[in-house]
Amino acid sequence: MNFKRAYSWLVVILVLGGSLLWQGLGSSRGTLIETDIMALLPRDRQNPVAQAAMDRVLGGLERKVLFVIEAEDKDQAVRAAEDLVGGLKQMELFSSVSGRIDSNQQKSWSDLYYPKRFQLLTPEQRERLRHTPEAQVERVQMQLYSPFSGVTGRELQNNPFLLFREFLSGLTSQSGAFTLIDGFPGKSDEEKSYLLITAEAADSAYGARGANQLPALLELEQQIRERYAVELYHTGVLCYAAEGIKSAQREISTIGIGSLIGVLVLLIIVYRSLLPIGLSLLSIGCGLLAAFVVTVWIFGRVHLFSLVFGASLIGISIDYAFHYLTHRLAAGSSWHSGTGLKAIFSAITMGLITSVMGYAGLLAAPFPGLQQLAVFSTVGLAGAYATVVCWYPVLAAKPGTNSGLPWAAPMNGWIVFWSNRSVRIALPLLVLGLAIPGLFRAEFNDDIRQLQALSPDLKAQEKVVQQVMGIQNGQHMLLVTGDDEQAVLERLHETGLRLNELIQNEILGGFHSLEPYAPSERIQRDNFELVQSLYLKQGHQLKQTLGLSETPSMATDFSPLTLASFLASPAAEPLRFLWLGKLDDTEKVGSVILLNGVKNAAPLNALAAQNPDLHFLDKASEISALFSVYRVRITYLLLLATLSIWILLALRYGVAKGTRMVLPPILAGLFSISIAGLSGAPMNLFNLLALAIVLGIGIDYTLFFGELRERSGQALLSTQLSISLSAATTLLSFGLLALSETAAIHCFGMTVLVGIFISWLLAPLAMTLEKRS
């Protein structure tokens, strides 16, 4: 008995326990657990500028939740909207709610632009003034006489060429075809009225608060639907994120409770005694404690995703305990805890090493989530291992009261079956043969959009909202950078011209740029000169044609509308997020153009490729491309890991035995790829990551057979039993992962499920047959 070792581990566990308390006290529970799905994704290291820009813009957009009220009766819609705005304002979830636009806000547009009206022109107006300025006189004449135009005497006096109304109208048409319905932005047709309400979340869209307050929001919506007999739709990243977090939380408890119950049932059936149950729970607990504390140390927070996988760690970390306890059970009254540990020590140590090698594959991917997962799992396993090695000999010093292995007959039968030389050749060949057809059908698809299991109800609501708003979603945007503000505005202008061509060619649906609202100084000066020349050359003509009492004149001094004054105006509120200002870690300033309805990304990529100050941002495609790169990389890593394990085993056990030990997990991996191929589901990065786990755990099983020194029937039986028990718990926990609604976790679970089963099936291949006598 080694008390020193036991006390050392006790000190470690106490320190870890203390750390957990400290971490828990230091921050509220909510902040220790990361729920932001984006935190799992890799940072774009090729282009930090673009990444920073994207994060800022998306961060703002993702906080927005859009509501649409649909009603046949306009007044009813307005009353429902008023009530909804009131309700939303009361919720802590939202920091601001924009409903009715007051007349001050409407007026702020003309306040901003009116003093600068001689230097603001639409692109069409610029063309007209440049080439056919005389046409403007005709237009004024026509509008003045037209009863539909609403030109008043005062307007004509302030703006004799009526250029300003056209400019303002051009801006409104750019910002979407909304009219104000009793002050609410919206739309109406013959049958129905639609009102739009926007709310902004106080925290990140992925925060836990969104998920917690979602029920209250849904209840508010239901009340309004019933009270006013209207339809109400909502959309926003927050809604999707809240759903994702809810389902992850549900899965953690399902998988955690499921595997815990499974473990307990197995323990009760096999050991029929309280001590082993207590010991098992102790090693699981110590493992989880170490995993959680160390992960928080390294990463600051534990991601919900890690916890989902961590829950399945319960099923793996129990393995070491199984080996120890089964050995004790088999030894019966002849049990000596020190020698008992010795008997399994090298096997479980090798097991830990190979598992860690398997998880190291996860560390290779630059996905923070996966790295965390690797650390979480490795530390968890090490914790469980240390508990077995340090404490079990002390705590389980006495022989157990029950002895004798259960299910001895089937276990024995299985071993006898595997002792048959032809079975040892035929069964692996059969598995390989079954795997081959599926292997050729295996396909890869790295598109991240395939992995998002979006709720159909939310999808349908999003569609309605988008139809009303006249936009298509998609996180496509162009980042435009430059050395200073004016350079960026100029570039925005040029880019706008190019984008208009793409709209003409139906490659693009539309775009939102800041430039028409605050043109560069050069363009304003240009416009000013065009307008000046119009007054000079056509002023007299206008007087003649209309019969004005005086020749029209305009202000002669030019002072540009500055970007700063535009951004400061309340009118700019909905557009302000497009301007990024100085970009972190660079000398550049930047602005983004939001793109709608991108039908083909290639021309946009080509456009961006022509200019180093233009970046086309397409988050989903970028991540998909990264997935593809790392899928290939992990494939090589996996092959490398298999080879290293093979060499390691060959050095220790000889080539022939080493090969027999490494073959079951390899065949298991091939078989799970084949199953994926036959099921028709394309594989992705997550399937490969699962293969790393299959390799790590599968090697464990063969190791215990390989490590057996004494080839007594009893030792074989106890090994087979502990392997079967651990396979059962692993299947239980990963089988539950396969039920996950999150496609990534589901793929992972399915691969592990199939792989572990085959690994268990073929594991006895590693046992050394007794010499024929």
Binding site: S103, Y145, S146, F148, S169, S173
Partner: protein
């Protein structure tokens, strides 16, 4: 509430004036609404006089018009220059002389359409819709005059800054629209020779609304 009351009102009107024909003076807003919407097609002549401070002389224009439910309004100005304006449900076509027509879509130009839509509502006497933006007052004919007056006072927004009042006068049809701007400028449109025969559009008229 509003709907049911006007229905009751209308019902009582039907009992009181079962023979309410074109000769009878219009006594209420409801009756006005009913009279103005009775004809789906109205043709006639117009004369617009705009008296603006900027001009020594009033701006006078003349021509013909065609109002059709549900197509819209045609405004065929012949004097002092020739212009064809066709205001459809959600588009406006303007043709200056023989030049090609310029067409504007409502959803691309919501601001431009705001006033034209409003004008169409005024022209049709759609008091329900106008009540959203104006304070609507109805003055029945006084003594032998036989003219009713509808006075619209803008309640809010850009309309209120531009217009003091808009007055409509008429008998069976609207005869005058008078727009008084806050600046003191006044525009008057007078209608004459209004007729609802033939009651349906000719093929040429119908096709002119399709653009």
């Amino acid at each position: 509430m509003r709907g049911s009351r006007s229905w009751i009102f209308m019902f009582s009107m039907l009992i009181a004036f079962p023979m309410s024909g074109s000769g009878k003076p219009i006594e209420s807003l409801v009756e006005l609404q009913r009279t103005l919407s009775a004809h789906t097609v109205i043709r006639g002549s117009f004369k617009q006089t705009r008296t603006l401070e900027l001009f020594d002389q009033p701006l006078v224009s003349e021509g013909r018009f065609l109002l059709s439910e549900p197509h819209g309004l045609q405004w065929l100005q012949t004097h002092p220059f020739s212009v064809t304006l066709i205001l459809g449900k959600d588009q406006l076509s303007q043709q200056f002389g023989e030049q090609p027509a310029q067409v504007m879509q409502a959803d691309e130009n919501p601001m431009m359409f705001y006033f034209s839509g409003l004008f169409l509502s005024i022209f049709r006497g759609e008091t329900e819709g106008l009540a959203e933006q104006f304070n609507v007052e109805f003055f029945p004919p006084v003594k032998e005059e036989k003219y009713w007056t509808l006075k619209l006072t803008p309640e809010q927004g850009p309309l209120k800054t531009a217009f003091k009042t808009i007055r409509l006068q008429g008998r069976e049809y609207i005869d005058t629209i008078r727009l008084e701007e806050t600046s003191g400028d006044i525009s008057v449109i007078q209608f004459s020779h209004q007729s609802n025969h033939p009651a349906s559009l000719t093929e040429a008229e119908r096709s002119s609304f399709e653009f």
